[in-house]
């Protein structure tokens, strides 16, 4: 998948950041479970985006770019360790092991999502949290739509069994 610069006005990074911050933080919270770690991951991802804004800002989907960074970093044990280190420094605590309050009401659901294979967890988070169509999820994760469909079906099947709920939804996204 090539990134094709398109001819359009590039919005300011500040506008982009303010528009996307909450959604990207939500993605990081779901995939990392920890609020401080999610903040570090989100901050680092936007910092990386900022550094490359001249290029990223011209992409068709800068939001997809920053989501990919967060999605990959959230499931990377090494990067999580680094983010946790920074979170611990910042909060001088073991807060990274505490669960984000935003997840509290649906902790069982998100815990099971996090236990999925990393690609499946990413697909679920992007599909439901951002309500993204299959094509955009595929672009963000750098795989085919068919792969996304497979991951989504497997993830739903696993989650339905774990959460003891039916899996009735047709594959429609």
């Amino acid at each position: 998948m090539e990134d094709i610069p398109i001819v359009r006005g590039v919005e300011s990074f500040d506008e982009f950041f303010r528009r996307e911050y909450r959604a990207v933080l939500g993605l990081a919270i779901v995939l990392s479970r920890s609020r401080p770690v999610a903040e570090e991951l989100t901050q680092d991802a936007f910092l990386a985006t900022f550094r490359h804004w001249d290029r990223v800002g011209r992409l068709d989907s800068p939001g997809g770019w920053v989501r990919r960074v967060v999605a990959n970093r959230s499931v990377s044990t090494f990067r999580r360790a680094a983010a946790e280190g920074k979170a611990r420094l910042r909060y001088q605590s073991r807060a990274h092991r505490s669960v984000s309050r935003e997840l509290a009401g649906d902790l069982d659901v998100w815990n099971e999502v996090r236990r999925l294979p990393r690609r499946q967890a990413q697909v679920i988070a992007l599909t439901y949290l951002d309500d993204l169509p299959r094509r955009e999820v595929a672009e963000i994760l750098g795989c085919s739509e068919e792969t996304v469909k497979t991951h989504l079906e497997r993830a739903r099947k696993t989650l339905a069994a774990k959460l003891k709920t039916p899996n009735e939804a047709p594959y429609g996204r």
Partner: protein, 595 residues
């Protein structure tokens, strides 16, 4: 309700809870690492927003004072004030007579021996209740009681030695000005509170400051608060009894702070740290010299693809990969690739390129080059979907959703997969590949790719994701929450548990080139210190030390001779290294200091 609807509703609730989320300041508008500006008497950064706090420092603040900053003339403590002296910690501070001083520590769980922190004083305009039902690292009850016109101030003594000879510009802060302590928000639910949170260095000691203002705080109380902080003074130098840094550290200094080898006996090596920006920090523990220099190809970001050593070369970079010969200093452009991955073969490295020029973007191909840039294997498409983690003899270990696959260029079929979707490849030595088979990493396995035999080298909770084979492959060193584990690959048993080495921080471990010494160092990016350890394999002696500067990621080990060009000369006058606070650093040449 089926699983689709369950997920939809959970996502809706999460989005709703984040809809009121405060959006922080745009990143990149100020330095990520905020260097501390210091004089010999007092130093601070502008995190407190108090210009008055800066009146005694000759250097300007690097931080950006918040809009609520006031002029120095306004920041005073009204009289009558109480002059409080803390003999135990050796400081004085003046606060208004109608303020309250906490008799107990408010954040009861804040003290962390490994991070050497201790709450030393809390003041407020209202009675301060210690503790709280949860979040013991936060002054929760005091925050819950904070009225709209109240202020809470809490001081925490941090790490750092007194009277140390190192340049204070190497002390860096992990805190950003105005950055709110979001744990305080999430634990207390007090998003209406205005927080100021920062760290300053005073006479070589770090003090962290937590200030919470009520939503209707008036200017007078705000100015009084800055005046109180401005009145803080040390009354006694830090000593072994007054500075927790010297009494509770997990890795206490073992050598005299000013003379002699850092580890007691000479190590004859130099640790070369990736500085996470565009260069390296060389640390000579025998001569107590530190030097910073730019490394060709090194770029900020993406810590996992940091510095590695391949024979006589240092490999660095992403997008454009370079090898620098440590003996000649000559740099060779190895190729334009998204990332590099270490190879199992000596003097070679794998280059990986995705067509989208980003990790995972489009089709990936891999090729091997030697450190002179000669192509050893032509670019070949990676036919296994996944992430190339590390080189194996003749190929790559790929982490995929189906476990770890062994990929060989040109092979019709790939080697069998092992482990599950969260399996992680750790290190390679000859035919041995160390890996975690699942996300829990309760077990660390070694598979011999020639025989297919797998052995479990470590089986216990707490493995921390970093492992290194000794140069001859007879040992595997693993970082764990219980300490550093040294396991024999011959017997499959742990031969030593170095349980003095426990830290809350990620710990890197590397071997000396001759395999006789094992070195460990903490992740110190954005920190003011690095905790170091040297373990002698033959004598099993462990020497530890804390060096009072940080800003480093992983490291490699060079011999003294190999590292000479990365160190200032022994007779060279150390010049002032400017703080690394922007990217690229703008540094040219080499600068050094003694510690």
């Amino acid at each position: 309700m089926d699983v689709d609807e369950t997920l939809r509703r959970a996502a809706q609730r999460l989005r709703a809870s984040l809809s009121e989320e405060r959006i922080p300041e745009t990143p990149g508008t100020r330095p990520r690492i905020l260097a501390v500006v210091a004089t010999s008497v007092i130093a601070t950064i502008g995190v407190l927003g108090s210009l008055a706090f800066l009146t005694r420092t000759s250097a300007p603040p690097l931080g950006t004072a918040p809009a609520s900053s006031t002029s120095s003339s306004e920041a005073t403590v009204p009289q009558p004030g109480i002059r409080f002296e803390d003999e135990e910690h050796g400081f004085e501070i003046t606060y208004p007579a109608d303020w309250h001083k906490a008799d107990e520590v408010l954040a009861t769980g804040l003290t962390s021996p490994s991070q050497q922190i201790e709450e030393i004083l809390s003041l407020g305009t209202y009675p301060l209740r210690p503790g709280g039902s949860e979040c013991p690292h936060v002054p929760l009850n005091a925050l819950l009681d904070l009225g709209s016109r109240d202020v809470l101030v809490s001081l925490v003594l941090g790490a750092g030695g007194s009277g140390s000879p190192w340049p204070t510009e190497f002390m860096s802060s992990s805190f950003l000005p105005d950055d709110p302590p979001l744990d305080a928000v999430s634990c207390s639910g007090r998003s209406d509170v205005e927080y100021d949170f920062g760290v300053f260095t005073l006479d070589g000691r770090q003090v962290q400051v937590f200030v919470a203002f009520g939503s209707a705080i008036d200017d007078e109380t705000r100015n009084t608060t800055w005046g109180v902080l401005d009145s803080f003074e040390w009354t006694a130098p830090a000593t072994a009894t007054t500075n927790t840094a010297t009494t509770t550290t997990t890795l206490p200094p073992t050598a005299d702070p000013a003379t002699g080898p850092l580890f007691g006996d000479p190590s004859n090596v130099v640790l070369l740290f990736d500085d996470g920006i565009d260069g390296v920090l060389a640390l000579d523990p025998d001569n107590r010299i530190g030097s910073r220099s730019v490394l060709e190809g090194q770029r900020a970001g993406d810590e996992p693809y940091g510095l590695i050593r391949v024979e006589d070369s240092l490999i660095a970079g992403w997008s454009s990969i370079h090898a620098t010969n440590v003996n000649t200093g000559e740099s060779t452009h190895l190729g334009d690739a998204t990332i590099f991955v270490s190879a199992a073969e000596t003097d070679r490295v794998w280059l990986i390129r995705w067509t989208g020029d980003r990790i995972g973007s489009g089709m990936a191909s891999a090729w091997q080059v030697d450190t002179d840039g000669a192509v050893v294997t032509e670019p070949t498409e990676l036919t296994v979907e996944g992430f190339p983690a590390i080189g194996i003899p003749g190929g790559l270990a790929m982490q995929s959703d189906d476990g770890i696959w062994l990929w060989y260029p040109g092979a019709v079929t790939e080697g069998a997969a092992f482990g599950d979707a969260s399996a992680t490849a750790l290190d390679v030595s000859g035919d041995q590949l160390a890996f975690c088979p699942d996300s829990s990493c309760v077990e660390v396995h070694i598979i011999n790719q020639a025989t297919g035999r797998t052995q479990i080298i470590y089986r216990e909770e707490g493995f921390e994701d970093h492992a290194r084979f000794s140069p001859d492959g007879t040992y595997l060193a693993l970082t764990t929450r219980n300490g550093l584990v040294l396991a024999s690959t011959q017997t499959g048993n742990a031969v030593d548990l170095i349980d003095d080495l426990t830290t809350d921080l990620p710990l890197y471990v590397e071997w000396s080139p001759d395999g006789t010494q094992l070195f460990a160092a903490t992740y110190s990016y954005g920190q003011g210190q690095i905790m170091l350890a040297r373990y002698d394999i033959e004598t099993t002696d462990l020497d530890t030390a804390v060096v009072p500067f940080g800003g480093t990621l992983s490291f490699v080990v060079l011999t003294q001779d190999e590292a000479s060009r990365y160190l200032i000369d022994d007779d060279q006058q150390p010049d002032a290294c400017p703080p690394v606070s922007r990217m690229p650093s703008g540094r040219e040449g080499i600068c050094g200091f003694r510690f």
